[in-house]
Point group: C2
Chain length 192, copies 2
């Protein structure tokens, strides 16, 4: 298992058919996931296409994560938790200033993803909404109001995705206070 240190991120290739296992090593932690077509990184993960084709905002085992070009990128093949978020964008310096005006500004998962993906020729403006693994964002169906709650994931819980095309993956250990219950923990991953 490779460990992503607290408040950091990484990027790597994931080939079609390979599985990516994301592990909440200590529990109650979030990992922001991005995916791009390795052969043409202008094709990227799309929350809107995914909500449309899967007809739900709650993605779990059996659901597919789709690209902006309507191609299947990743399939969720195992899920110990069942609660993830695909509504919210990764935190950035601007979101830290907005949500945590009294705390030190951090570049957040957005900055960590931008730095990790830069060697693949992917720029800040190319970053779409991330699939936020283990993130707990309940939505009130009546009012539309959402809130960011601590994850329900326990130590050792995993999410496994299978690549449906050759991909560049960006992956983080969450940096924001609200998303992980105020604790900054590592995230593990494994490619099989």
């Amino acid at each position: 298992m490779t460990v992503i240190e607290p408040r950091s991120g990484t990027a790597f290739e994931l080939r079609s058919g390979q599985q990516l296992q994301i592990i909440d090593i200590e529990g109650t932690q979030v990992s922001d996931l991005l995916a791009f077509n390795l052969d043409d990184t202008r094709e990227a993960l799309s929350n809107g296409r995914t909500f449309d084709y899967e007809e739900t905002i709650s993605l779990t085992t059996g659901n597919i994560l789709w690209s902006n070009r309507s191609n299947a990128m990743l399939e969720i093949v195992a899920d110990d938790v069942g609660t993830h978020d695909f509504l919210l964008t990764p935190c950035s310096k601007a979101t830290f200033r907005h949500f945590y005006p009294d705390k030190p500004v951090h570049r957040g998962c957005f900055g960590n993803l931008a730095a990790a993906l830069q060697p693949f020729g992917i720029e800040e403006d190319d970053l779409p909404c991330a699939f936020n693994v283990f993130m707990n964002v309940p939505v009130n169906g009546q009012t539309g109001r959402l809130s960011v709650e601590p994850p329900i994931s326990k130590a050792g819980d995993m999410l496994t995705l299978r690549a449906k095309m050759d991909l560049v993956i960006g992956l983080t250990a969450c940096s924001a206070y609200a998303s992980n219950g105020g604790q900054f923990k590592p995230i593990g991953y494994r490619i099989r």
Copy 2:
């Protein structure tokens, strides 16, 4: 009032401070809205940043639509309907094939927006999730399931937005069967 003919789209500049009024001329019709920074079209509307800052998926009077760079793009200043969607991407040839396999393929709002925005140097892959004016997409807060229902807008109902920066706007009259109750109607707009 300018009329967008059924199943078509247009694009135009909207200057900071100007108001854009979108009119459901006959009722029960949807209009997909995109916005880009006129001075740098890599800055675009972001559903994820908007859900994050507004803390809701239901946007109405007083809410702001945010960009991928965390800048305010548009403020909703009047809303006769109160039901709009920001979850789903505009329909494309691929979504027509997926959702309406027995019906003729149409390029949809996605194709109409891409064609209308092309003179501004905006390409297909640059199109983010649209703010789908008058679109009725209830979400079940328990299961996450969503459905596309006919709009509740009546003839003459309007949504008014104020530009918070100089913008390129893309705007359509919806082309898909489910979104507008199976009828293709025009959409009107007015700049003030």
